[in-house]
């Protein structure tokens, strides 16, 4: 059957965890990410969201792109590419980075894992092999290997996640601080655990060779049975990340290399990621352009909004007046946050208008009838949801 499948090359790939996830995907609600079949949800998005916040859940990050960057010029090459100074990174640490075009427009964000001297792993949401190759040109000794298909990675997020790992026998994992990396002997190989995630909660990401994927799943689920472990999909991830104030490509920003229209992409300053841009570093890609953007001030600023009422401001425009005739921005992501009990949103708003009043024009539906309302918005400067357990070391026991 497969041999004669005329669509063989077009079908979605299945990750190392697929055999287990397929059984659990009761609703057959599949989405895709980088050519991999990925659950949008397994049973119910809200149910999965509450698992993340109250117990723990796993999210398949096999489709995330992973590049191993090594060689005596690896640090130099990466440091020129990203806006942060990675020369100060300690061994077995992870850092969040963005990288920009020459014009200072954001190509993508991702994380860099320092695995040794001049040994790094870079992860990001979209394939960036061509960009990395271009960035490595001219350096004598840099090797870039795309390990996306060779590494099985699972994100374990939620308050009981540390307890699960301890139950699995990962001694000392509770001493790992946020962004730490720990390695454990695991079956015939190594299990790398980083205290990272995309939910704003306590959580870890687990990395093994693809061949050990099912062993990882089985060990984790057997240790996690008493801690309420459940798989969660993209929908729940999106809810959790919005509460944490994290940005998503295709929502908050448009990858610069895929942007056609002039300045429909963003600078880190527009995305409120100025803290990632280190002008003390003498050179990095886009520095001159970003310095101009910084000095002039970004035209737009990504802003966290707490909106009155309970109707999510999905795809709303933001206005500077209640009569909604001066549009000053647009909502990129919005939801009713069950944990914060607030109507939250991220919105791109003209920077100069941030001092004034903000109103969202919200359209919503009630049993096929369309309604609209104008709701006042309050700016929030901190993440909507920041539980202390996310940063506590050791995390609270369960």
């Amino acid at each position: 059957m497969t041999e004669s499948d005329p669509y063989a090359g077009e079908r979605l790939k299945e990750s190392a965890f697929h055999p287990r996830q397929a059984v659990l995907n009761i609703r057959n609600a599949w989405a895709s990410w980088n050519g991999y079949k990925l659950a949008n949800y397994y049973y119910d998005a809200e149910y999965e969201y509450f698992c993340i916040r109250n117990q723990c859940g796993t999210y398949d990050i096999c489709p995330m792109q992973k590049y191993r960057i090594t060689g005596s010029d690896a640090e130099k090459m990466l440091n020129r590419m990203v806006t942060r100074d990675i020369t100060k990174m300690a061994l077995n640490r992870v850092t969040y980075v963005v990288w920009c075009t020459d014009a200072g427009r954001m190509v993508d964000d991702g994380t860099i894992f320092k695995l040794g001297d001049n040994k790094y792993m870079l992860t990001c949401g979209s394939p960036c092999g061509a960009w990395l190759k271009m960035s490595a040109f001219g350096f004598d000794d840099v090797s870039i290997v795309d390990e996306s298909d060779d590494i099985a990675a699972l994100s374990l997020q939620g308050p009981t996640s540390c307890s699960v790992l301890k139950a699995m026998g990962l001694h000392g994992i509770e001493t790992a601080k946020p962004f730490d990396i720990r390695n454990f002997t695991f079956h015939s190989g190594t299990l790398m655990v980083s205290r990272t995630g995309f939910t704003g909660d306590l959580g870890y990401e687990l990395w093994v060779k693809s061949e050990l994927g099912l062993e990882l799943w089985d060990d984790l689920y057997s240790a996690g049975a008493d801690f309420g472990i459940q798989p969660f999909g993209e929908a729940a991830t999106n809810m959790a990340r919005l509460e944490a104030g994290f940005i998503m490509p295709g929502m908050e920003f448009n990858e610069a290399l895929k942007t056609v229209h002039f300045e429909h992409d963003q600078t880190p300053f527009e995305l409120n990621l100025g803290w990632l841009v280190d002008f003390k570093k003498p050179h990095f890609n886009g520095r001159a352009a970003l310095l101009r953007d910084y000095e002039r001030g970004p035209r737009y600023t990504l802003t966290k909004l707490d909106i009155e009422g309970n109707k999510p401001a999905i795809e709303s425009y933001i206005y500077s007046n209640r009569s909604c005739n001066r549009q000053i921005g647009y909502v990129t992501s919005a939801m009713w946050s069950p944990t914060v009990k607030a109507n939250i949103a991220l919105a791109m708003i003209e920077t100069k208008e941030l001092r004034g009043e903000l109103f969202a024009e919200i359209y919503y539906e009630k049993e096929l009838r369309q309604y609209s309302k104008v709701a006042k918005c309050e700016i929030r400067t901190k993440a909507f949801w920041t539980p202390t357990r996310a940063r506590a070391t050791p995390p609270p026991d369960h």
Partner: protein, 514 residues
């Protein structure tokens, strides 16, 4: 340690011109040349005891303004140089000659057509002329000077009148084959007249792109496209440039190889601050001006880690593979070209447009043609100092010889193509082989190594539609400034381009002194 205002890397003619202008304005200038002599590709060297030659063997459009500004005549440069007639060699001895704007030895029709053709082409060349000695505007920067340059170009074009402007727009990127076919009957005439459109380029008569522009570029000077050997030859010319530079106070050092451009890095960003020499010595300056080609300047001397990623990618993709080899012969006496009265002209060996095209076809795929086409000059006829009494030097540009030869260059490959070139010469000068005392063949790869020019490309980067004007070598470096503050370009890889014109060196100096 002495601190210079400007350090110039490379004492080719552009480096010399730029240094001279900067020093003349009062700057302390250090000019560093890796070779033992100044002049770069126009420097003469002894390739056999008593016989001297330079890679560039004629002048066609050296700027008169530079001659005046730098008082080159006072330093021995003679503007009243003899212009060379161009000769299309014919296998049967029925050679044709282009001399003083007239074609000889051709049909009346072709002779007449040439008059109309020349007038029109000269109008186009004159229209473009003001822009070769001008910094090109930066696209997107709407300052007055830039807008004025654009407006000036538009106005100049419009002033051609409706008919000629339309004609210019039509022929500017036309393959020379079409242009020649439209105007001339004789294939020999067509080959000879299209020659200057292809010389030094990866381009043949059927290639659309920039051949016509290259012709117009070469017609822009005082000489209207005629080639000449300056009094004292190319060495005399380089000597005049050096003498002027020295008189203006330039500190010139030869045998001084720059290994790295020093770049100061701190929280204010980067800034070129000097150079480190191959022997470890360093020189400091407020700015560094490189006449080396763009790839060498940015990748070998400045370092990609100091540049932007997409910028480097554009420089990496510059087309700069040379396709011209040099044949140098030390001869017992004047060669005898039956049917030719003297050897004072510039002789083109290409008996038709197809001969050029087929030679190019082979090179395109990394091979050398069985039938190379070439331009032959005997510089010693014009400058006796280049060869011992009674003996002569023959200098030929042999096209098309690829820099990247399939299988790579080695002595055997070099000998084979050299012999092929001499065989070809023999067809026109049957006794020449017996007169050879010594022969030398420089492939583009050799030129790359000896002269430190990437790809051995005369023009540092192909003179092509996408690599000229405000795109030369690429945007963000097309106004002689580079993305690294304090680092400038002044070589043939910058606007307007190659050949011994002095224009990039002049324009860079103007920009630096702004």
């Amino acid at each position: 340690m002495q601190h210079y205002d400007s350090i110039i890397i490379g004492a080719g003619h552009n480096g010399l011109v730029c240094a001279s202008y900067l020093a003349k304005s009062g700057q302390r200038v250090l000019l560093l040349e890796a070779a033992e002599n100044v002049g770069g590709l126009a420097a003469s060297r002894e390739f056999h005891p008593g016989f001297k030659v330079s890679v560039a063997h004629t002048l066609s459009h050296f700027s008169k303004k530079i001659v005046d500004d730098l008082k080159l005549q006072e330093h021995g440069f003679n503007a009243n140089q003899e212009t060379l007639s161009t000769i299309g060699l014919d296998l049967n001895g029925n050679h044709i000659r282009l001399e003083n704007g007239e074609l000889h030895g051709v049909s009346d029709d072709d002779a007449k057509s040439y008059q109309g053709y020349r007038i029109l082409m000269q109008r186009f060349a004159d229209m473009l002329k003001p822009f070769w000695l001008k910094t090109m505007p930066r696209i997107g920067m709407n300052n007055l000077a830039d807008v004025m340059t654009f407006a000036h170009l538009g106005l100049k074009m419009r002033l051609l009148g409706q008919r000629d402007m339309r004609e210019f727009m039509r022929v500017a990127a036309l393959p020379t084959r079409d242009l020649m076919d439209e105007n001339f009957d004789s294939d020999l005439v067509r080959a000879m007249l299209s020659w200057d459109g292809h010389l030094g380029s990866k381009l043949a008569p059927r290639s659309p792109n920039h051949a016509v522009l290259a012709m117009l570029y070469r017609m822009a000077g005082e000489q209207g496209g005629n080639h000449s050997v300056p009094v004292g030859g190319m060495p005399g010319m380089m000597h005049a440039l050096l003498s002027s530079a020295t008189a203006n106070g330039v500190d010139t050092r030869t045998g001084a190889t720059v290994e790295r451009i020093l770049i100061e890095a701190n929280e204010n960003g980067l800034a070129a601050s000097g150079v480190r020499m191959a022997d470890g010595e360093t020189f400091l300056a407020s700015r560094v001006v490189s006449s080396a080609d763009p790839q060498r300047t940015f990748f070998s001397l400045a370092g990609v880690e100091n540049l932007e990623i997409q910028f480097c990618n554009r420089i990496r993709r510059l087309r700069c593979q040379g396709y011209v080899a040099k044949l140098h012969l030390a001869l017992e006496g004047l060669p005898d070209f039956p049917g030719l009265d003297d050897c004072r002209g510039r002789m083109i060996i290409a008996d038709g447009l197809d001969a050029i095209e087929f030679a190019y076809d082979d090179a395109k795929y990394g091979e050398c043609s069985e039938h190379p086409v070439m331009e032959v000059v005997l510089p010693s006829v014009h400058d006796a100092s280049l060869a011992p009494e009674g003996k002569h030097v023959l200098s030929a540009h042999v096209m098309y010889v690829p820099c990247q030869l399939k299988g790579g260059w080695n002595d055997d490959a070099r000998t084979e193509i050299r012999e092929r070139a001499i065989d070809t010469l023999e067809k026109y000068a049957p006794t020449i082989r017996d007169q050879i005392i010594h022969s030398e063949f420089l492939t583009p790869k050799d030129i790359e190594q000896h002269y430190r020019v990437t790809g051995g490309h005369w023009h540092h980067a192909e003179f092509a539609m996408d690599q000229i004007l405000m795109m030369r070598p690429t945007y963000e470096a097309a106004q002689y400034r580079t993305p690294i503050p304090g680092l400038f370009l002044c070589g043939a890889g910058s606007h307007p381009g190659g050949d011994v014109t002095g224009a990039p060196g002049h324009n860079a100096a103007v920009e630096i002194l702004k």
